[in-house]
Every structure is written in C-alpha cells, then in structure tokens.
C-alpha cells in the first residue's frame, strides 16, 4: 500500500501541497515508510499567513470566554483520542507508550492552563497617577504567530505555544518537524473537528525553506522554536533581522550531580529515566552524572546494574522500557560519539551497540551505553549527543561539580541528588541553568510554569508555557487619561 501523503491545513481546509518534493516518514522501530510529508512552497506559506491575517480580524474580537471554550473542546477531543494520539507518537518517534502518554498529557495540561485566558489576560490600572489622571494597562493580541517544532516531542511542543496564542486572540501556523509530522497532522484533525473559524489555526509542512518564508513574511509577528542550538541561533538572528519577536529553546548538556549523602536506591531510578528515557532524546535528559567524592564507585556500580536491565524494544509493547532512536542518521551520529569517547580515553563500562530486538531487525536500536572515568574536556562531556549515552565524571567536591556544569555553554537543566538542605539551597542559588531538579532527574516544568533555559539553551526573554506565554503572545498597551 502506498504511504499516505500528508496535507497542509490552511484556512480551514486540508490542501494538497503543490510541491513534488516528498520526504519519507519512517517508523524508527522498523524503518518502514509510514507516510510522506511534502516540502511546501513559499507560496503555500504565504497562503497560510494571509489566511491567518484575515482570520485575525474577527478572532481578536471574539470574547476571551468564547475563545476559552474552544480550549475546553480541544481538551475534551484530545482526551477522547488520547490513546490514538499517544500511539502515533510511538510510531513516528520511537519513544515508549508511557512516555508518549506523558507527552500528550502535558500537551493537554497546557490547553487547560490556556483555558484560563479570561483571567490570565486581565490588565491592571491605577487611579490618580497624577492629579486627575488615570493609567490603564490592557493586554491585546498581536497578530499572526508561528511555531517551528522539533521531532522529539512532536505532539506536545506546539502545545506549549498554540493554545496560549489562540486563546489570547492571535492566529497561528504550525510547521511540524519533517521527521515526525504525523502527530500534528492528527492534532489538526481534532482542531478541524472542533471547528475553529477558518484561518485561526494552520499547518504547513516543510523544511528550512518554509521556515525562512515564515520568518521573512512581513505579516508574521513572532516565532516559537524548539530544536538544536545551531538552528536556534540561525533562527533567532533571522527573526531579529526581520523584526519578529522570538522565543528559541535550544540544545542542552544536562548534569545530574550526586552527593555522597544521597539516597542511592531512590536516586538510581531517577537517573535511569532521565538518561535513558525517550532514548536520551529529551532536551532535559541527564547525559552526565557528576559523582562527588566517595559516592563514585558505589554509584557507578548501581547505575551499571540498573541500566543493563533496561528492556529495549518497540515502544508499543508495554513491557519495553526504552525504544529506538529516531533515525539511522541519528544512530550513526551517536555511534560516532561512542567511538570518540573511546578514542579520548573514557572507559566504556556498558556498551549498547550490540543490542538486538527480536522481530525488529531493522530498527534504530541502541542499548543504554555508559562511559565512566569521563573528564570534562572530553567531547562526550561537552557535546549534546541526544541519545542513550551517559558519561560519569568523578569529582572531589561540590564546587568542582558546579565548575563542570558551568564549563558547558548550555544552561538548560541540572539536578542535584542529596539529603542536605544546605547543598540543595546552594545548588538552586548558584547553578546557571533554567530548569533545576532537586532529587528529580527530569526537571520538566508543568504547564503553569515557564519552560526555562539559559545561555546557549535559550535565546529570547519570554519562555513557552504559563504566564510567560501570555506575555509573549500579547501587546501591553498603556492608556493614560484625563477628563475635563
């Protein structure tokens, strides 16, 4: 059977792209082609922006309560199709079904928060700022926004932005990852079903050309991006060049610092899920364990024991604990890093390269891989590997652990495992990362909080989710008035 060719969703209609350039979407567990995605033309991007511009005129005048009701309906429809939405993530991305369910859940939570827009968009005022003069601040929508989404959370990441943008009265365009576009295709089936006015939400498949066209379009107000740092830097510069507001969440190299006083039996499961969950393809994955003092040897032993028991396989099998990586290309890149680690003298304590999965001989599988005796200068300690490869660095002190974190150009996340309130407080206070875990391996902010980030992990000032998103998607207009 021919794989389905995905369509764009523009102005309330599913439209076949005119582009004859199609990319194959593959199931990472089998490498079978499960769909084809068009690389849309700049004209198609322009159509989407124009439709969003026209829709904006009426949508911004729709009451916040009416806009919130669309959010309630979106949530309810997603709950109804929850399992389908989760399964399609597994099929196109490879993560395990529990992780996919967690992803859809977080997406829904963002819709639930955005449904509070009648309260979240309230402005503020003050009487008598000067004699007989009053001042008001009102929040207004700003126009057309877009999202350039990554492959690793193909359902959730656009929902860090779209619900807030639309609930605030803006109109929106999603450009899904070309590697994993099917989740957004299904989400837009739901958006179509709940019957937004035409043009309020739009989907344009494509690659860099579509992104450039979105950023260069004179009617585009702003962009939200999640992806790698090199692409993020390009996109941030391009957005600035064309006068767009931008929030750019980029790469990471996250450290999990383990103190000698930590509770190892509870720390180990957190490290496992942080380092090997989603096959290490989260921007919050802990890719370095920094072991302080005498904890190094017992910690290493327990990590190796736990990691060697992780069951690798196809994510739709609920007994599986880790799926494949997204593509052959990714797998080759990760294998290259393993070679590099060996060349630079790290000890390969657990080698995941030989893993085989029964019935899935063609999948992009790699078992948990662990390097010990890693030093901060090594490439595997500096680069974002984005795969199930963990390095363990021994250090003598808490201060040295902080130095390891701060040597990195990234500032996405870091965690500390300890039973000491003093160390926890010190860590929270000093560490230069945006998302901090204390005895938590994946420091993932819930929908009411900003998904933070610093240094080369974030470019912009307002983050996705929560109040930051409301600020990003609105203008604050100040009115100073006096009546005679």
């Amino acid at each position: 059977m021919e794989p389905k060719v995905l369509k764009n969703y523009i102005d309330g209609e599913w439209i076949e792209s005119q582009s004859d350039e199609l990319l194959n979407v593959r199931n990472p567990a089998t490498n079978e082609v499960i769909a084809q995605v068009p690389m849309s033309t700049t004209d198609e991007v322009d159509e989407a922006v124009q439709a969003a511009c026209v829709a904006y005129q009426d949508w911004r005048e729709t009451t916040p309560f009416a806009r919130a009701r669309y959010m309630f309906r979106l949530k309810n429809f997603m709950e109804e199709r929850f399992e389908e939405l989760s399964q399609i993530i597994v099929q196109e991305h490879g993560k395990i079904i529990d992780e996919a369910r967690g992803e859809v859940r977080r997406g829904i939570e963002n819709i639930e928060v955005a449904a509070g827009v009648p309260s979240l968009m309230l402005g503020y005022n003050m009487e008598d700022v000067s004699q007989g003069i009053d001042e008001d601040c009102v929040y207004q929508p700003a126009g057309v926004f877009c999202c350039v989404a990554p492959f690793n959370f193909p359902n959730m990441v656009p929902l860090w932005f779209l619900p807030y943008a639309v609930a605030c009265g803006n109109t929106y365009i999603v450009k899904p990852s070309e590697q994993c576009p099917m989740s957004q295709n299904m989400l837009f089936e739901i958006l179509d079903e709940i019957d937004f006015p035409p043009g309020v939400v739009n989907l344009v498949n494509g690659d860099k050309r579509a992104v450039d066209a979105l950023l260069e379009h004179p009617d585009m107000v702003g962009v939200s991006f999640v992806g790698s740092t090199p692409v993020g830097k390009y996109l941030y510069a391009k957005a600035a060049q064309h006068g767009k507001r931008a929030q750019v969440q980029a790469g990471a190299k996250n450290c999990l610092v383990v103190m000698p006083d930590s509770v190892l039996n509870q720390t180990i499961p957190s490290i496992m899920t942080s380092s090997f969950g989603t096959s290490g393809q989260r921007c919050l994955s802990g890719s370095l364990v920094v072991a302080v003092g005498e904890v190094y040897e017992p910690l290493k032993e327990k990590i190796l024991e736990a990691a060697s028991q992780i069951k690798v396989g196809y994510g739709l099998d609920e007994t599986v604990q880790m799926g494949p990586v997204v593509s052959k290309k990714s797998l080759d890149r990760i294998l290259g890093y393993i070679e590099k680690g060996l060349e630079e003298g790290a000890t390969l304590s657990l080698d995941g390269r030989g893993v085989t999965v029964e019935n899935y001989p063609d999948g992009n599988f790699l078992g948990p891989t662990i390097f010990s005796d890693v030093t901060p200068e090594m490439t595997i300690a500096q680069d974002e590997i984005f795969g199930p490869v963990l390095g363990i660095i021994p250090v003598d002190s808490f201060d040295e652990a902080m130095d390891v974190i701060h040597r990195s150009p990234f500032g996405n996340a870091a965690s500390l495992f300890t039973t000491s309130g003093k160390w926890a407080r010190e860590f929270k206070y000093r560490v230069q990362v945006g998302n901090i875990g204390i005895n938590i391996g994946i420091a993932a902010p819930i929908a009411s909080f900003p998904f933070s980030g610093m240094k080369d992990s974030f470019f912009g000032d307002l983050h996705g989710q929560g109040r930051d998103a409301i600020q990003f998607f609105t203008e604050r207009k100040v009115v100073i008035s006096r009546w005679f």
Binding site: R101, R105, T273, G441
Partner: protein, 139 residues
C-alpha cells in the same frame, strides 16, 4: 509477564477488571443475578477508573522503572459454567487476587495520587469479597 512500566501495570489492571466484568456478567445470567449484576457494574466502573488513571496519572518527571511485580502472580482461571458454590469460590478468589494485586502495585508506583486510587481499589475488593462470603456462608 514483568509489569515494569506504569502503563503495563495500568493495562494489566484494566484487563483484570474487564475479565471480572465478563465473569460476573456470565454468572448473572446463570443464577446470582442481583449480586453478580451489581459486581459486573462495579467492575465496569473500575475498568473506566483504571483507563482514566492510565490517561491522567502519568507524570513524565517520575516515569521511573518499576521492579518486582509480575503479572503471572495474579493470574486466575475463571469460568461461569459451573455450580453455584464453585462460582462463588471463584468470585471470592478473584476478589482476593485483585485485592492483592492492587495492594502490591500500590507499593511499587511512585505517584501518590495513583497509589491512593490503587488503595481504594483494594479496599473495594475487600468489600466485594465480604459480600460474596456472606452469601456463601448463608448458603
């Protein structure tokens, strides 16, 4: 079958409740219509609760591997095509097994809200078993 993930445990629970609902439905057709019909409705409600928990209870930040829970330990053969005393014995054994499963699983899951739900499930199993035992003793 190792129940080593959150989803595996919840799916197992759903399967358990579905089997219970089917068993009580078949039993209600034979004789014990009031009691078994009531237990069937309860099992369907519990199935929906487990499905909702699988959907809503997942928390990515503590999606940690689970060890020491095996589905084989809670397998139970059920057939409604038997005499009433045997039917009652099976029903009591089913409730005991389910109670043990939910109690054991509650100790393994690191999400407090889900633990509370599992504890509630186990408590309900005890009450259901009591109803069945009262009937068995009466006979």
């Amino acid at each position: 079958m190792d129940l080593a993930t959150f989803g595996a445990i919840l799916s197992y629970a759903m399967d358990l409740e579905q089997r219970a609902a089917d068993f009580y439905a078949a039993g209600a057709k034979v004789l014990l219509e009031d009691l078994f019909g009531d237990l069937e409705r309860g099992s369907k409600k519990r199935f929906a609760r487990m499905e909702r928990t699988r959907r809503e209870g997942v928390a990515e930040m503590i999606l940690e591997p689970i060890t020491g829970l095996n589905g084989e330990d809670y397998r139970i053969a059920l057939s409604a095509d038997v005499d009433i005393p045997v039917l009652l014995e099976q029903a009591i054994a089913l409730e005991e097994t389910a109670q043990r499963f939910y109690q054991d699983a509650a100790e393994k899951i690191p999400i407090r809200e889900v633990v509370r739900i599992f504890q509630r499930m186990a408590e309900e199993n005890t009450k259901r078993k009591d109803r069945l035992e009262t009937l068995a003793l009466g006979d």
